[in-house]
Subunit: 509 residues, 2 copies
């Protein structure tokens, strides 16, 4: 994990604000901030909560080294004497963090984290918490969207080389798995989290062989020259490629997935792979399959499938890579490609379709008074007040809607009707009788310590289960239905009161 | 810096290939790989070399802990006995890395890194080197493109919260500065590299004030009540906002850049800021300016400029943020906005316009024999052979073209005509007489040690100078002219020879 989680890894304004809060005797006022996003990514209507490992890292690293203090003191904007006054308070014993469980579906405006504590601390945490969460949610959501279009395929994350440094790659590996991928090519990801790792060969391996050598023909004392003669492709194929396939098969007879497009997939790669597979079969091994990494994946996969089947390798799979995205995979599926697994790299680790989730972190309460951020754009208005958030379950067991309440309100009761209001549209409200009520924000951090179990495998499983509790029209790729995120009667009134109180009078003339 | 630079931070196939190279007695064959990209990003015709700090980190971390070896040994794909045989060779004493200097403009197909050494080591380095370079180049290039459209504005990188973890944020901070930005909000970036840090307040600071207190009015024993009465805005503005501005001005009288859009920029924020500035002026301070973070930045900046000027604050600047991109900044410039500085976050740290550079790392030579990667797409064919790369300078002192030669060829001489060939178009070649010749690939790493000076400030300066040596039509945003990247006569022949030798015969019937 990166060393950059100390509170010096933040935007400067967090520190200037902290000092001015201190000077203005507000630094220790009790404050509540919440994190949410205004729009679900990828033109969808859901996202998947993620990033708890990094949230934990941020909260457990809330202290500065002497070198870091010295640097802060050296900045002309900051004042050493005031920084000195903050020093004894640089701990999080009086900060509480609540959050939604990793893997749970989340929606626009649902508070996903709520942070309570002295104003200056809660403020100082902002940038690093957003950094911890934004990409993790985005990438997990994208992985889940790919899993939704390829429910039964092998999905492997391949993006290490295109991520923003090791942190980006590691978060992508973890997020892809949480979102439903089967594994990764990233060995460190495998080591850290027990994620299955996959990978066999690159083009360079194939290129590095030019001809057969005596070494190559000798498989533990048995020459395979006779088998090569027997199974050699009928057409003239690239001999270096065949040598490379045989060399790899000799090293890994149980896990030979051969990359067939170094020279020409259909004219050379597939025939050479089939020759190699026939030799493996004679020696008692079951070949794994081939990988296509360029060209028309529909045509090539169907043709390769036919050739593999004709040669009796029905169980050999066809794995595809090459700039695959959710959209391209959906299109390959629609065209009935013969692909059994996908390696997804660039599009997953950069979330190219929408490379940023706009999660924000807004003050909602100070000294027990609700606070609001007004905006000319209604969608950018924040919902004031420290909240409890409930997910109400309908009589079919599916999620009905999320309901935010003021922290002072009693929780909704199963079987009892309540009103749920749209946050900004006064004409939209519904009476709801939940069959069950789930409290969404649970304690992550209290009394200076992390309180929640981080278990990637368990979160992955519960995430897949939760997804099944969403209506299919919410999960749909095209034109999905928004999930309802609503306010209680009291919270709605608080919002309206704050709006009335805080909005400046505009005068047109 | 991240701990993830050990060779376990890689794709699994690098390890399976290493073991198979070993078994096939090729692990120690001398190999040359080169890194390049096929297309410049952002529909442009240039990119900026970057990432040397991370390349260095990768090369200096080429060893595994016992825990990492154990994990590798536990993988069913890998064989403990073969891993054991690699162990004594896990050093880079026999690997040499050459690269282009940080900050230099680079173009499609120019080799940007060349790595020479035993095949298995050069292979094992691939994924981490690509991870080190891809985002750094991309982000530096985007920063430079913004600097090109706003040559005289203050440019500050604001993206920490939207990056892929700390690594992504740190690379973005460093890249933005290298690409021509003035500074960052990222305090750790400032500490690590001496980059100027900027920042004053967020909306939460403004929200946290509701009214005036005695403390607020007391500026080191002098009450400012009289000054407030004298300079109070003529219209009814938000009193909490005015209190926040005065509180901040009291804490930072020399560096008050006030965020004016928490409630209503024109109806409340700007009048409150001008009131605060008048009080600061009476107390002998020069206010810094205002920040706009929403709404129509052209209209608001012009109107705010007029009001600030009328009040005598001609030197107060207007700083803008809010999802700014190269395109939006170019449009603000074209509309004659009154903005003096830009904070750029999401678009810069995600490179939203194109979130991945497709840099690749290809084998070009093994045992002194050139190797080629064929593809059905001509653009994906690699250029074989270990190379020297020269940048030829014309008689006006500007860069003419890049010329790749086989390592065995003598360098081009100033004043002596040579032929430069287009890599793939046989009809395009030019006779060139350079006035000067720059060798582009210089040693970065040899004999197990880093050899090149990494000096961010110097690279930033030399980068800006080099950019001036490119023709303006190459730098142009719309429909730029490609820079010529060409092959010597000998290299062109080598390419054709390899193509003929390696391309499989296709037969249509």
């Amino acid at each position: 994990m990166s060393a950059a989680a100390s509170p010096i890894f933040t935007d400067l304004y967090q520190w200037t604000m902290a000092l001015s809060y201190l000077e203005n005797k507000k630094a220790h006022d009790s404050a509540v901030f919440e994190m949410f996003f205004r729009e679900c990514p990828f033109e969808g209507e859901y996202a998947i909560m993620a990033g708890h490992d990094r949230i934990r890292q941020v909260l457990e690293s809330f202290s500065l080294t002497e070198k870091e203090w010295s640097y802060l003191e050296s900045l002309p904007e900051l004042q050493p004497s005031k920084l000195q006054a903050l020093k004894p308070h640089m701990h999080l014993n009086d900060v509480r963090v609540f959050g939604i469980a990793e893997g749970e579906p989340v929606f626009s405006r649902t508070p996903i984290l709520q942070v309570e504590g002295p104003l200056f601390k809660v403020q100082l945490l902002e940038s690093a918490l957003l950094n911890a969460v934004n990409f993790a949610i985005l990438c997990t959501t994208y992985a889940r969207r790919i899993r939704q279009v390829a429910p039964n395929h092998k999905l492997v994350e391949f993006g290490l080389r295109r991520a923003q440094g090791p942190d980006g790659a590691m978060t992508a590996t973890r997020s892809a798995f949480l979102g439903g991928f089967d594994g990764t090519s990233n060995v460190l990801g495998g080591m850290n989290w027990g994620i299955p790792v996959f990978g066999t060969m690159a083009h360079s391996f194939v290129q590095s062989f030019t001809s057969f050598t005596d070494d190559l023909l000798d498989w533990n004392g048995r020459s395979i020259q006779d088998l090569i003669n027997k199974h050699r492709p009928s057409q003239p194929t690239h001999q270096g490629e065949l040598a490379a396939f045989l060399a790899y098969a000799k090293s890994f007879p149980k896990s030979s997935l051969l990359l067939v497009d170094t020279y020409d997939a259909m004219a050379s790669g597939v025939p050479n792979a089939i020759c190699t597979f026939k030799i493996l079969r004679e020696l008692g091994h079951t070949p794994l399959g081939i990988r296509l990494d360029s060209g028309d994946l529909v045509y090539q996969s169907k043709e390769a499938r036919r050739l593999l089947d004709e040669a009796g390798f029905q169980s050999a799979s066809i794995f595809a890579s090459n700039d695959l995205s959710e959209r391209i995979i959906a299109s390959l599926q629609a065209q009935g490609s013969a692909i059994g697994g996908f390696g997804v790299g660039t599009h997953l680790v950069t979330c190219k379709d929408q490379p940023a989730l706009g999660a924000v972190y807004k003050m909602v309460e100070i000294k027990n008074e609700p606070r609001i951020k007004i905006s000319e754009q209604t969608a950018k208005i924040s919902i004031p007040g420290a909240k409890n958030v409930y997910r109400l379950v309908g009589k079919d067991g599916r999620y009905l809607l999320d309901l935010m309440q003021l922290a002072s309100e009693p929780p909704p009761q199963p079987g009892k009707a309540i009103w749920a209001h749209h946050p900004f549209d006064p004409f939209r409200k519904a009476e709801v009788t939940p069959s069950a009520v789930i409290e969404l924000l649970t304690p992550l951090f209290e009394n200076g310590a992390w309180r929640s179990k981080i278990d990637l495998q368990a979160s992955k499983a519960s995430s897949a289960k939760s997804l099944k509790l969403l209506r299919e029209d919410i999960l749909r790729r095209e034109n999905p239905t928004p999930y309802k995120v609503s306010l209680s009667e009291n919270l709605k009134e608080t919002l309206e009161h704050c709006l009335k109180q805080e909005a400046p009078r505009r005068h047109l003339a």
